[in-house]
C-alpha cells in the first residue's frame, strides 16, 4: 500500500512538472515575414495609391465606353466579355484595393509608426487612406467605415457619413501637417525616394494632396446637394490651397504642374513598369488586371463624338490632313488625338494610315485586326518604350476643372471657361512634354527616323506636317 501511495504521488508530481504551454511551439511560420519595417512597408502603400488610381481609371475607360475590342475573331472572346470587363467580384479591384491592399497595409504601418514615434509615416499613410476612401465611396456609396475590420460583416455607413468623415479627416490631417510636434518629431525616421516615389517624404507636398482630396470631396455637393455660393467658395478655396501648396518650394514638374503627385517609374531597386505601359505589369500574377490597351480600339463614341475626329463618313475620315487653314487640319477637333494614340496602316484594300474606330461591342469584320486600329500606347502615361514614365495620383488639371465647376455654379462663367481652357491647354502640354522627352519632337507629326510613325511603318509628308498646322489646330480648338 505504501508503495502504491508512493507511485501515485510520483504521478502527481509528473503531472505538475509537465507545465504545458511552455513546451508548445509558438506557431509562427519561420519562413514568412510576419511584420515589416517602416522602410519596407511605405513603398507598398504609395505603390497602391497609384494602383488604385489606375484601377479606377481602367474600369472607367470601360464604363464610359471609350474603348472597345475587335471581338472573337481577333482576341478569341467576345468583345464585351472578359476584356475591359471588371464586373466579377474576384476581379473588382476597388473594394479589395481600399479595404485590403491599402487598408490593411496602412493599419499595420500606422501601428508600427506610432509605436516607433515616427509620425511622418503615419501622416503619409493616413493621406493615402483618405484618398482611397474617397475613391471607394464614390464608386460604391455606402461602405463600412466605423466598423471596418471589426467583424466579417461590418456595418455599412451611409455615403453621407463617410463624406462627413472624409472632410473631418481632411481638416485633421491638415492640422497634423501643420503640427511640428508631428512633422518634426525627434523619432521621425528619414524617408527617401526609394520609399516614397512621389515626394521622397516631403510632408508639405503630401499636404497638398489632402487639400486636393478635400476639393474633390466638396465638389460632390454640386449639382444636387448644395450649389450655394458659400459652398462653391469652399471648393474654390480648397482647390486654391492645393494649387498653392503644390506651387510652393522647389517645383518638380515646372511652373504650372508644380509638385502634383506623380508616381514615377524611373528606376531604383527593382524598377517596375508603368501600369499603363506596353509592359502590362500584373501584381503577383492575379491580384490586378493588366491594361488591355494592346487589344483595345477607340470607340466611335470616344474618337468621333468626344474628340471630333475629322471627315467621318468621307474619304478623308481619320486621316491627318495637312491642308492649312481648313477645319480638317490635323486628325480632329481635339488636338489630343495624336497625343493619345498613333494611327496605323490598314488591311489590303484600305492600307491608308488612319485613326480607325469601332462601334462599341459589335466586333470587327473578319478581315480586321487590332493592329489596324490606332496604337494606344502613347502619351504621358502609356507611351514610354522603356515602361517608365509616371502615373499621376492627382493632376493639376483636375484641380482647375474643380475650380471651373465651382466658378460656374457660383455664376462666374467666364472664369469657369478660362480655367477649363487653361487646364486643357496644359493637359496637351503634359503629353507634348512626353513627346519631347521620349522622341525629341515638339509637336505630333514632327517625326523623323525612329519615331513612332516610322515604327508603325508610316512615312510620308502627310504625316509630318509643318508646325503651323499643329498650331492652327490648337488655335481652332481654343477659338483663338
Amino acid at each position: 500500500m505504501n508503495r502504491l501511495k508512493y507511485i501515485l504521488s510520483s504521478l502527481v508530481v509528473c503531472l505538475g512538472a509537465t507545465s504545458c504551454v511552455d513546451m508548445l511551439d509558438d506557431n509562427v511560420n519561420p519562413d514568412r515575414a510576419h511584420q515589416v519595417t517602416l522602410q519596407t512597408g511605405l513603398p507598398v502603400i504609395v505603390f497602391y495609391a497609384q494602383q488604385t488610381t489606375y484601377d479606377h481609371a481602367e474600369y472607367y475607360a470601360y464604363l464610359s465606353q471609350c474603348l472597345t475590342t475587335t471581338g472573337k475573331s481577333a482576341i478569341g472572346t467576345y468583345s464585351y466579355k472578359s476584356e475591359w470587363e471588371f464586373l466579377t467580384m474576384n476581379r473588382h479591384p476597388q473594394w479589395r484595393r481600399h479595404f485590403y491592399d491599402i487598408g490593411v497595409n496602412v493599419r499595420n504601418l500606422i501601428t508600427q509608426a506610432d509605436a516607433a514615434g515616427s509620425y511622418n509615416y503615419t501622416l503619409i499613410a493616413r493621406t493615402v487612406r483618405l484618398l482611397s476612401t474617397q475613391l471607394t465611396v464614390d464608386m460604391f456609396g455606402d461602405i463600412p467605415l466605423t466598423e471596418a475590420y471589426k467583424s466579417n460583416s461590418p456595418k455599412y455607413d451611409t455615403e453621407g457619413t463617410v463624406y462627413d468623415w472624409i472632410l473631418r479627416e481632411c481638416d485633421d490631417l491638415i492640422a497634423a501637417y501643420e503640427n511640428t510636434a508631428l512633422t518634426e518629431a525627434s523619432g521621425n525616421q528619414r524617408i527617401d525616394a526609394a520609399q516614397d516615389r512621389v515626394y521622397a517624404g516631403d510632408l508639405s507636398k503630401w499636404k497638398g494632396l489632402v487639400y486636393a482630396v478635400k476639393a474633390r470631396a466638396l465638389l460632390r455637393n454640386i449639382p444636387n446637394i448644395d450649389t450655394s455660393s458659400a459652398t462653391c467658395q469652399k471648393i474654390i478655396d480648397a482647390a486654391d490651397k492645393a494649387i498653392a501648396q503644390w506651387r510652393s518650394g522647389d517645383l518638380l514638374y515646372g511652373a504650372w504642374f508644380g509638385n502634383e503627385p506623380r508616381y514615377n517609374f524611373d528606376g531604383g531597386t527593382n524598377e517596375q513598369n508603368n501600369v499603363w505601359s506596353a509592359a502590362q505589369p500584373i501584381i503577383n500574377s492575379w491580384e490586378s488586371r493588366k491594361n488591355l490597351l494592346d487589344a483595345a480600339v477607340p470607340s466611335k463614341y470616344f474618337i468621333v463624338d468626344c474628340l471630333g475626329l475629322n471627315g467621318v463618313g468621307t474619304k478623308s475620315e481619320g486621316v491627318f490632313s495637312a491642308e492649312f487653314g481648313t477645319s480638317n487640319e490635323g486628325f480632329g477637333n481635339d488636338p489630343r488625338i495624336p497625343l493619345l494614340m498613333i494611327a496605323r496602316k490598314g488591311p489590303d484594300g484600305d492600307a491608308a494610315v488612319r485613326m480607325r474606330f469601332l462601334e462599341n461591342n459589335i466586333g470587327a469584320g473578319t478581315s480586321m485586326k487590332t493592329d489596324y486600329y490606332p496604337k494606344l500606347y502613347m502619351g504621358a502615361y502609356a507611351g514610354s518604350n522603356t515602361g517608365g514614365g509616371y502615373n499621376p495620383i492627382f493632376t493639376m488639371e483636375e484641380l482647375y476643372f474643380i475650380k471651373a465647376e465651382a466658378e460656374y455654379w457660383k455664376g462666374n462663367k467666364t472664369a469657369a471657361c478660362q480655367l477649363a481652357k487653361e487646364a486643357t491647354q496644359y493637359n496637351i502640354e503634359r503629353h507634348l512634354q512626353f513627346l519631347r522627352s521620349e522622341y525629341g519632337v515638339q509637336y505630333p507629326g514632327n517625326f523623323s527616323e525612329g519615331k513612332p510613325l516610322e515604327l508603325e511603318g508610316c512615312t510620308g509628308a502627310e504625316y509630318h506636317p509643318a508646325d503651323e498646322v499643329w498650331n492652327a489646330q490648337l488655335e481652332a480648338c481654343f477659338d483663338k
Binding site: 508503495r3 502504491l4 507511485i7 504521478l11 509528473c14 503531472l15 509537465t18 504545458c20 504551454v21 513546451m23 508548445l24 511551439d25 509558438d26 506557431n27 509562427v28 511560420n29 519561420p30 519562413d31 514568412r32 515575414a33 510576419h34 511584420q35 515589416v36 519596407t40 512597408g41 513603398p43 507598398v44 505603390f47 473594394w95 479589395r96 481600399h98 479595404f99 485590403y100 491592399d101 487598408g103 490593411v104 497595409n105 493599419r107 499595420n108 463600412p144 471596418a148 475590420y149 467583424s151 466579417n152 460583416s153 461590418p154 526609394a194 520609399q195 517609374f265 531604383g268 531597386t269 527593382n270 524598377e271 517596375q272 505589369p281 500584373i282 501584381i283 503577383n284 500574377s285 490586378s288
Partner: protein
C-alpha cells in the same frame, strides 16, 4: 563393501538425476490431433527437441527440470518433469492469434468480447494474402468500411486510405487514419504503409470510430490502423527466406481510334501531329501503335530473410528485404531495401524491455500523371522515333515539315515522351529510420507502468535534370521575347531535399483491481507528447550555359534564379513544426466478463492553436452486454451474442501557422517593398473541429462460433469545420480560416465469417465485408455553398452544402424539370451558363468484399472479390480523348448523324423529344460536348477479382535430416478480372495521393493504367 555399495548407489542416483529420458506426446485440445513440430525446451537451457509427425518427443531431463512446450498459434505451456516418465500435453489454441484478442488503444490487448466499439483485426497471413507491391492495396476488401484508392499502376503510385468517411472538408485538414506501429504513432498516412515490409507484421487492427480511437486524441479522429510487428519466438533459432518474382501488365487501357490522322475538322493540316481530327487514313497509310509500344511488362523481385529466436527471458527478431520493382512504362521504378530489428528482454519478473529499429532506403523514379501526351499522340506519327543522332528531339517524326514551323512556335513544339524518359534524370532517394523503445515495470501486482519513446525520421532527395531540347543557335534571336518564358527548354535542374521527423514520448499506467467478487476495475492513465518537424527545399534553375553533357546545377544560368513561385524553377526553403501534449485516462468496469462499461477522457493541448485557447477536452463512454451469457441463451445453433454502444467526442486541431499574417515581396513591388500576402488564409479565432459520434453494434455467433457476424451502425457529426473561405476585404482579409460548417456521416458495417469445414486435412472459410456510408454537408459559412478542391479543367471535387462531402461540380446542360437535356430547334443541346453546378457524387452506395480460403492437406487456395456499387468517377482522361479526336467511338460514329438524347421546348412549358439529327464532328464535340463536365461523370460500380492464390506446403516431403524445415510455394494472380461499366482504366482511382478535404478520389486523370500481375513466391524455413 559397504563403501562400494554406497558408491554404486550414489553413481546410480547421480545418473538417474542428470540423465534420464522422458517421452511425451503433444496433442491439440481443440481437435485432439497430434501437434507436429512443436518445440519442447528444457527451461533455462538451450536443450530442446521438436515433436515428430505423431506429436511425440523424447528428451534428456532431470526431475527438477521444467519443460516449455510452444507452437505457433497455441498457448505456451510449462510442465514440471518431476517423477513422470511420460507426458501427455494438451495445448490450447492461442485466442489472440485466432482473432479473439485484439490490440487496441495504447497497445493494450483485450479480448474482443470485452470491446464496445468496432475493430477488425487481420493476422499476418491475411495481411500478406494476395501480396501486392504495397501493403495498403492489399487491405482493400478485407476490412469493412476501409477504402483504398491509388494513383494508378505505377510502382510509385500513392494511396489514400479512408476509414468510413471524410470528416474534414477543408483542403488543409487531413482525413487519413493514424498509423501506429508497436504502440507509437508514426509519420505519414497511407504512404507510411509502403515503407513497411508486410512480412514483418504480426497483426493489424483497424480501429474505427471516435470511441475506438478516443484515447489517441485528435490525430485518430479518422480512425487508427494499429500494427504490431513480429517478435522473436522462444526456442531455437529459425531462419525464414522468401523470394518473390512478379510480372505485371497493363489492364484495361483506354482504346484509341484507328481511323483518322491528325489535323483539324476532317482535313489535313500541315504539321499537326496530335489528336485525330484530321482526314481519314488513306489506303496503306502507315500507323503506329504508340500506346501499346510504350506499355511494357513490369517486373518485380522481392527477396527477404528473417531470423527469430530466443528464450523465455530474451528473444529477437530480425529481417532484411530487398525489392526491385519496374513498372509498365519506361524508367518507372522503385527499389527498396528494408531492415528491421526487434528485441525483447525481461531482466526480471517485473521489468520488460522492448526495443526495435526499422530502416528503409529506396530509390525511385515515377511517371506521374503523364499519360496525356501518349494518348493524344497521332496514330500516323511514330512516337518511338524520338531522337536524332545528335541527341536532340527528332522533330521530323512528328512534324511534316519542321522548316515551316515559325520560330516562336518551335519553342513549344511537341516532344515524344520517350525523349524525357530516356534522356532526363529524375530520381528520388528516400531514407527512413524508426526507433522505438519501451520499458514496463510492475512494481506491485496489477500495476504496470510503461514508458515509451519513439523517433521516426525520414530524408528524401529528389535530384533531377532535363536535357536541352534546343540549342540557342536554333533561333535567330536567342533573346526574343517569345523565348523568355521557355528557358527550361534549354535545360533545367531541380534539386529538392526534404526531411521530416517525429518524436513521441508516452507514459502509461494501468491498474487492475477486483472490487467485489464479480466486478473488476481497470484504470488507465497516461501522458504523451509529440513533436513534429519538417523541412522542404528546392534549388532550381533553367538553361544550361555550357552545351554538351555537363548536366549539373553548376551549369545553370544564374540569371534564372528566382524565389517567385510563378516560375516552376524557383528557390525555397520551408520549415514546419508543431507539437501536442495529451493527458488521457480510462476507467473500465467489467462485471463477470458479461457486461462492460468504460469512460475515457482526454485533455489535449496543441501548438497549432497556441494563439487562442489551445486546450480542449473530450470524453467518451462505451458499454456492452454479452446477453447470451447473461440470459444463458447458448445452445447448439446460437453460441454467443453481444450488443454494444458508444458515444464519443474527439477534437481535431488545425494545421500549423494559421494565425500569423504574412508579408510578401511581390515582384511588381518596386524598391524591395513588402506588403500583406493575400493568398494566406489567416485565422482570427479558431477552435478545434469537434467530432461527435455514436455507434451501436452487435457481435453474434452461431453454430459453435463457426458463423460470426458483426454489425454496426454509426453516426458522426463534425462541427466547427475549419474552413478557409473568401471574406469581404472589409474584414481585413481576403481569405480567412475559421470555424464554420458541419459535416455529418452515418453508415452501416457488417462482417461475416463462416467456417464451412474445419478438419485436420481440410478447412474452408469464407469472409464477407459490407459497408455503406452517407456523408452530408449540413452547414457552411454564410453565403458559401461549397468548398472546392483542385480545379481539373472546370471540374471540381466539392463538398456541397446540402449534398455530399465528396461531390463533383462543373458545367451541365440546361435541363427540363424531369432532368432531360434541353435542345434547340436545330437539335443542339443548350449549355447552362452557370460555371459550377452539382453534377455528381463520388461516394459509393456501398462497398463489399468477399473472400475465401481453402486448405486441403498441404494445398491452399484463396481468393478475394472486392466491389463497389455506385460512386461517380470523373473520366478526365476520357474527356481528353474525346476532345482530341482520339476516342475509339470515332471509328464508328464520327461524321455520322446522331440525334442528341434530349427534349425541345415547345414554348408553352411542355417539351417534346428531340428528333433533329446533328453531325458528330469536331465542331459539335468542342462546342456542345467537351465543355460540359457532366458528360464525363461515369458510374464507378465494379466487381473485381482482387486476387487468386494457390499454394503448396512441401514441408512434409522434406527428409528428416534436411536443413530446410519448411518449404512453401505460392502462385498469386492480382486484379485478374474487373467487371465495370466505367470506360476508363479503373474506377478505384484517385488523382493524387492527397487525403485532404474532399480529396481527389474518383478523378481519373492520365494516371498510369492499373496492372494485372502474376507472382510466384517461395518461402523456406531453416
Amino acid at each position: 563393501m559397504k563403501k562400494q555399495l554406497l558408491l554404486i548407489l550414489f553413481s546410480f542416483l547421480a545418473v538417474a538425476g542428470y540423465a534420464r529420458v522422458i517421452t511425451g506426446t503433444v496433442i491439440s485440445e481443440s481437435d485432439n490431433e497430434p501437434v507436429v513440430g512443436a518445440t519442447v525446451m528444457v527451461k533455462g537451457t538451450p536443450r530442446g527437441v521438436a515433436t515428430d509427425l505423431d506429436g511425440k518427443f523424447s528428451i534428456d531431463v532431470k526431475d527438477s527440470d521444467v519443460l516449455t512446450i510452444s507452437n505457433v498459434g497455441m498457448l505456451q505451456q510449462d510442465v514440471k518433469v518431476g517423477k513422470q516418465q511420460s507426458l501427455r500435453i494438451l495445448m490450447k489454441d492461442n485466442a489472440q492469434l485466432l482473432g479473439e484478442v485484439v490490440v487496441t488503444a495504447m497497445g493494450q490487448t483485450q479480448e474482443k468480447k470485452k470491446l464496445n466499439f468496432a475493430v477488425q483485426q487481420l493476422d499476418s497471413k491475411e495481411i500478406t494474402a494476395g501480396v501486392s507491391n504495397n501493403l495498403a492495396s492489399t487491405l482493400q476488401g478485407k476490412v469493412s468500411g476501409l477504402q483504398i484508392m491509388n494513383t494508378g499502376g505505377s510502382p510509385n503510385a500513392s494511396q489514400t486510405i479512408q476509414i468510413r468517411a471524410i470528416s474534414s472538408i477543408n483542403t488543409s485538414q487531413n482525413n487519413e487514419p493514424l498509423i501506429i506501429i508497436d504502440g507509437v504513432p508514426v509519420r505519414g498516412g497511407g504512404s507510411s504503409l509502403t515503407d513497411i515490409n508486410p512480412n514483418d507484421i504480426e497483426t493489424m487492427s483497424v480501429l474505427k470510430g471516435a470511441a475506438a480511437s478516443a484515447l489517441y486524441g485528435q490525430e485518430a479522429a479518422n480512425g487508427v490502423i494499429m500494427i504490431v510487428t513480429k517478435s522473436g519466438k522462444d526456442g531455437k533459432l529459425t531462419v525464414t527466406a522468401n523470394a518473390t518474382l512478379e510480372v505485371s501488365q497493363a489492364a484495361r487501357v483506354p482504346e484509341i481510334q484507328s481511323s483518322y490522322a491528325p489535323g483539324s475538322k476532317g482535313f489535313y493540316v500541315l504539321n499537326a501531329g496530335s489528336g485525330g481530327w484530321g482526314a481519314p487514313l488513306a489506303a496503306g497509310q502507315q500507323t503506329y501503335a504508340n500506346l501499346g509500344d510504350i506499355l511494357e511488362t513490369g517486373l518485380r523481385e522481392n527477396d527477404a530473410v528473417s531470423r527469430t529466436g530466443g528464450t523465455t527471458k530474451a528473444n529477437a527478431y530480425a529481417s532484411v528485404s530487398y525489392q526491385k520493382n519496374e513498372g509498365i512504362v519506361p524508367e518507372d521504378y522503385k527499389d527498396q531495401f528494408n531492415v528491421f530489428l526487434k528485441g525483447q528482454f525481461e531482466p526480471s519478473d517485473k521489468v520488460k524491455i522492448q526495443v526495435s529499429t526499422s530502416f528503409k532506403e529506396s530509390k525511385s523514379r515515377g511517371f506521374g500523371n503523364s499519360m496525356s501526351s501518349i494518348y493524344n499522340w497521332g496514330i500516323t506519327k511514330n512516337m518511338s522515333d524520338y531522337q536524332t543522332l545528335e541527341g536532340f528531339p527528332n522533330w521530323d517524326a512528328y512534324y511534316d515539315d519542321w522548316s515551316k514551323v515559325l520560330e516562336e512556335n518551335r519553342i513549344g513544339a511537341a516532344i515524344s515522351p520517350y525523349f524525357g524518359r530516356y534522356n532526363d534524370k529524375g530520381e528520388t532517394t528516400s531514407t527512413r529510420i524508426m526507433l522505438n523503445g519501451q520499458i514496463s515495470y510492475e512494481p506491485i501486482k496489477n500495476l504496470v507502468l510503461t514508458g515509451k519513446v519513439s523517433y521516426d525520421k525520414g530524408y528524401s532527395m529528389y535530384d533531377s535534370y532535363s536535357v536541352p531540347r534546343f540549342r540557342e543557335s536554333d533561333f535567330s534571336d536567342p533573346n526574343a521575347s517569345y523565348l523568355s518564358d521557355y528557358a527550361y527548354k534549354f535545360g533545367s535542374y531541380t534539386f529538392q531535399p526534404s526531411r521530416s521527423e517525429r518524436f513521441n514520448a508516452q507514459f502509461l499506467a494501468t491498474y487492475q483491481r477486483q472490487l467485489f467478487n464479480d466486478l473488476n476495475l481497470n484504470v488507465l492513465f497516461g501522458i504523451d507528447w509529440m513533436n513534429y518537424k519538417s523541412l522542404s527545399s528546392q534549388l532550381a534553375g533553367q538553361r544550361f550555359e555550357l552545351e554538351g553533357d555537363f548536366y549539373s546545377f553548376q551549369n545553370i544560368d544564374p540569371s534564372t534564379f528566382t524565389n517567385s513561385s510563378s516560375s516552376g524553377y524557383y528557390l525555397y526553403l520551408n520549415h514546419s513544426q508543431y507539437n501536442k501534449y495529451g493527458y488521457f485516462g480510462e476507467i473500465r468496469f467489467d462485471w463477470k466478463g458479461i457486461a462492460q462499461v468504460s469512460v475515457t477522457g482526454r485533455l489535449d493541448g496543441s501548438s497549432t492553436l497556441r494563439q487562442v485557447d489551445y486546450k480542449y477536452f473530450y470524453p467518451s463512454v462505451t458499454g456492452g452486454l454479452i446477453f447470451s451469457e447473461l440470459f444463458k441463451l447458448e445452445n447448439d445453433w446460437f453460441s454467443y451474442g453481444k450488443i454494444r454502444g458508444n458515444w464519443a467526442k474527439v477534437g481535431k486541431s488545425s494545421a500549423p501557422y494559421k494565425f500569423t499574417e504574412s508579408f510578401k515581396n511581390c515582384s511588381t513591388y518596386p524598391d524591395a517593398a513588402w506588403g500583406i500576402d493575400p493568398p494566406i488564409g489567416v485565422a482570427l479565432n479558431l477552435e478545434p473541429e469537434m467530432c461527435k459520434s455514436w455507434e451501436v453494434g452487435a457481435d453474434l455467433r452461431f453454430f459453435k462460433s463457426r458463423t460470426r457476424l458483426d454489425v454496426a451502425y454509426y453516426s458522426t457529426s463534425v462541427d466547427n469545420q475549419i474552413v478557409t473561405v473568401r471574406v469581404s476585404p472589409a474584414a481585413g482579409q481576403i481569405l480567412q480560416t475559421r470555424n464554420e460548417g458541419c459535416v455529418e456521416n452515418y453508415g452501416i458495417e457488417a462482417t461475416l465469417a463462416q467456417d464451412i469445414f474445419k478438419t485436420k486435412d481440410f478447412d474452408w472459410t469464407v469472409t464477407a465485408n459490407f459497408s455503406l456510408n452517407r456523408g452530408k454537408v449540413k452547414s457552411l459559412p454564410d453565403q458559401i455553398t461549397q468548398i472546392d478542391g483542385t480545379n481539373y479543367g472546370g471540374i471540381f471535387p466539392t463538398a456541397f452544402l446540402g449534398g455530399s462531402t465528396t461531390g463533383i461540380t462543373g458545367k451541365d446542360y440546361q435541363r427540363d424539370p424531369d432532368g432531360n437535356v434541353i435542345c434547340n430547334e436545330e437539335g443542339y443541346p443548350l449549355i447552362n451558363t452557370a460555371r459550377q453546378l452539382y453534377i455528381g457524387n463520388r461516394e459509393p452506395d456501398f462497398l463489399l468484399g468477399l473472400g475465401s480460403n481453402f486448405r486441403w492437406k498441404e494445398l491452399t487456395f484463396g481468393f478475394l472479390f472486392d466491389g463497389r456499387c455506385g460512386g461517380d468517377v470523373v473520366n478526365i482522361t476520357g474527356s481528353s480523348l474525346i476532345s482530341n479526336g482520339q476516342h475509339h467511338l470515332y471509328d464508328k460514329y464520327r461524321n455520322r448523324e446522331i440525334v442528341f438524347n434530349g427534349v425541345v421546348d415547345n414554348g408553352d412549358g411542355t417539351y417534346r423529344k428531340n428528333t433533329t439529327p446533328v453531325i458528330l464532328d469536331q465542331n459539335f464535340v468542342n462546342t456542345y460536348y467537351y465543355p460540359v463536365s457532366s458528360n464525363f461523370i461515369e458510374d464507378g460500380s465494379y466487381i473485381r477479382l482482387s486476387y487468386v492464390t494457390v499454394g503448396y506446403d512441401f514441408s512434409k516431403l522434406l527428409a528428416k535430416g534436411c536443413p530446410v524445415k519448411g518449404l512453401n510455394l505460392t502462385f498469386t494472380g492480382r486484379n485478374l478480372f474487373l467487371l465495370t461499366k466505367y470506360s476508363g482504366s479503373d474506377p478505384q482511382v484517385t488523382e493524387s495521393g492527397s487525403s485532404y478535404g474532399s480529396g481527389s478520389g474518383g478523378f481519373d486523370r492520365y494516371q498510369v493504367p492499373n496492372v494485372r500481375s502474376y507472382n510466384l513466391s517461395l518461402k523456406a524455413t531453416f
